[in-house]
């Protein structure tokens, strides 16, 4: 061992730095669909869509908001605080620890962010559900944020656009999580009473209590290409019926075919599409070219 020391002291750092130099993290991204390797920077510059295969990767809340609002400028809406950990929950880990980790990892307070600003000149309130925060799960904080977003739209008399992405209920909050279904639906009804457009964009994946409440109650449903959208997750269905699911089942295109979404829109067209729809619904003239 003694003799090994001078070797590792002298040689190892060199090897380490050599390895480091050649493989910095996230330089390359492998397309989950085609398997091709692409430059991470190219993917990032393309709104997290893989150039070539057009595979839509997840887009975090902040870049999503920046991609929508004119010049990337928006006002973030303050969200109400909610009681943390009402069940004093722990599974393999304490829920409060999971929450803290998710906050550190994503730099978010919880899964939903609400912002106000202009999209091609149209005033909009936008909500984004970030899948990276505990699977975008719907707990008290996310539910309260969705409600706040819809209330903000009513107060500011703007349409409400929601980018949904979630595995469903925040299990660690038990029945408080389930109660976000009727609670958010109350807010959807208020948006409707105010006759303000509600546009839902379903991103990959959106399932469970989120699709079974506010995410399926929009005036217009847009899905991102390839997004998994459904009530039950594919694994649960396979376990129930004990057979393999058909190719493309529960994907955006499948949902359109079955009449559940109005259109499947590429991320690069999202901003223009939403602005156009809002203008028509508001009886505004088309945007000057």
């Amino acid at each position: 061992m003694e003799t090994m020391n001078w070797i590792s002291n002298v040689v190892r750092p060199k090897i380490r730095s050599f390895l480091k130099r050649d493989t910095p993290q996230n330089l390359w991204i492998k397309c989950p669909e085609s398997g091709q390797l692409v430059f991470a920077k190219d993917v990032e510059a393309n709104l997290n869509v893989i150039p070539g295969s057009d595979y839509h990767m997840r887009l975090a809340a902040v870049p999503r908001l920046k991609s929508m609002f004119d010049d990337g400028v928006y006002e973030e809406i303050a969200l109400p605080e909610v009681p943390l950990d009402p069940l004093k929950f722990r599974d393999e880990k304490r829920y409060v620890d999971r929450l803290r980790d998710a906050k550190t990892k994503t730099q978010l307070v919880d899964a939903v962010k609400i912002a106000f600003g202009k999209v091609e000149g149209v005033k909009l309130t936008i909500g984004v559900q970030d899948f990276d925060f505990m699977g975008g799960s719907l707990g008290m904080a996310a539910g309260e944020a969705i409600i706040k977003g819809m209330e903000t739209a009513v107060a500011k008399k703007t349409p409400f656009v929601l980018f949904a992405s979630s595995g469903g209920a925040r299990m660690q909050e038990g029945m408080f999580s389930l109660m976000q279904m009727p609670r958010t639906t109350v807010a959807v009804r208020r948006l409707r009473e105010a006759k303000l457009p509600y546009i839902v964009v379903l991103a990959n994946p959106t399932t469970g209590g989120v699709t079974a409440s506010y995410a399926m109650l929009g005036d217009i449903h847009i899905a991102e290409p390839g997004a998994l959208i459904g009530f039950a997750g594919p694994r649960v269905i396979e376990q129930t019926i004990r057979e393999k699911l058909p190719e493309g089942f529960q994907r955006a295109e499948f949902l359109k075919e079955h009449g559940m979404v109005d259109m499947v829109v590429h991320r690069r067209e999202m901003k223009a599409t939403i602005a156009r729809l809002c203008r028509i619904l508001a009886h505004s003239p088309a945007r000057a070219a």
Binding site: V82, P83, P86, L87, F89, R90, D91, E92, M140, I147, A169, M171, Q172, E173, G174, M175, F176, S177, L178, M179, M181, P182, R183, T185, V186, V188, R189, T207, G208, G209, T211, A212, S213, Y214, A215, M216, L217, G230, F231, A232, V236, I237, T240, I241, L245, P246, F249, Q250, H258, G259, M260
Partner: protein
């Protein structure tokens, strides 16, 4: 032949003793033996009462799913006169997992919606074990809208493990159907009351339980996911269901404390399945009382009260 749940062993033994002595008495025994039987029966009753006063959440789940527990159709038979089931969603089909119709409850015209699990192999299959398809929820919406037009209060009888997760259900928009049904509940200008009589399983229950008043039977459960599903999602081990049942807080007692439900309906000693008639009568009384407390409110007031109730959940803990 009585049936016992696993945790009722102590009571079963006392009952067996009483049965044994009764058999001897039947073939001629002393009057002292009859007294002894009386004492043993009283002991059995006391043991049952003690046992049911401190059921664990997992034990409650077992009681909530007991096959002899009164089901939707038993409540209809016991409480609703002239019940007229109405079939179909007018779009795709008739789903018997949800039964809906109109009738008279203690003299008042009402609409009733609920899941029926079935009570033997044939009826369980016909009712798909109480797990509804989208057309079941769309039928519920149709009946709620009709109830609104004709000023009929809506009574929901909730008893489901959850909405059905299958290919057809997904193709026909299970999520959308549940969301619309929840929305229909919240939009009603007539009073609506939900009673969870066994299992209130997740979105499949919420869809018909987003009501002015939500009541639970004493040993029923209301869950975001069944204890088994919670165990496999959170602990990656479905054998942890008992632990999940406790941690997830699924009992009527916990949910009343949290302000998630509005009241608990007492069950007969030893659970609803030991005295169906008494359980059904208690549910009838509780529903009648709830309806009375909502009478005289305008459609707008009913909607606002309902909306505020749900918005208030979890805001003050």
């Amino acid at each position: 032949m009585r049936s016992y749940l696993d945790f009722e062993k102590s009571v079963a033994e006392i009952d067996a003793k009483a049965d044994e002595l009764s058999a001897i008495l039947a073939t001629g025994g002393s009057p002292a033996l009859a007294d002894e039987i009386g004492r043993i029966e009283a002991r059995a009753k006391a043991a049952l009462k003690d046992l049911y006063a401190s059921l664990t959440p997992w034990q409650k789940a077992m009681v909530a799913r007991h096959p002899m527990r009164p089901h939707f159709k038993d409540y209809i038979t016991g409480l609703v006169e002239d019940f007229s089931p109405l079939a179909g969603d007018r779009a795709f089909g008739e789903d018997e997992a949800i039964v809906a119709g109109i009738g008279r409850f203690r003299g008042v015209s009402v609409a009733v919606i609920g899941q029926e699990k079935g009570s033997d192999t044939e009826s369980r299959i016909r009712h798909n074990f109480g797990m509804a398809m989208p057309e079941g929820y769309r039928k519920a919406v149709r009946i709620m809208e009709m109830a609104d037009r004709f000023n009929l209060p809506v009574i929901s009888i909730v008893d489901t493990a959850g909405a059905y997760p299958g290919i057809g259900a997904e193709e026909r928009g299970q999520a959308e159907a549940i969301a619309r049904s929840t929305e229909a509940c919240l939009g009603l200008g007539v009073p609506n009351i939900a009673v969870i009589i066994g299992e209130g399983g997740s979105g499949g229950a919420v869809a018909i339980a987003s009501t002015n008043t939500v009541l639970m039977l004493e040993h029923s459960i209301y869950t975001v996911a069944s204890p088994e599903a919670s165990a496999s999602i959170l602990w990656h081990d479905s054998s942890k269901a008992q632990e999940a049942a406790t941690t997830m807080k699924i009992t009527a007692q916990d949910l009343l404390k949290f302000g998630i439900i509005d009241g608990i309906i007492q069950e007969p000693v030893g659970g609803a399945h030991r005295d169906n008639a008494a359980a059904i009568a208690s549910v009838g009384d509780a529903v009648e009382k709830s309806l009375q407390s909502l009478s005289g409110l305008t459609p707008g007031e009913l909607r606002d009260k309902r909306a505020e109730k749900f918005l208030g959940i979890g805001r003050k803990l």
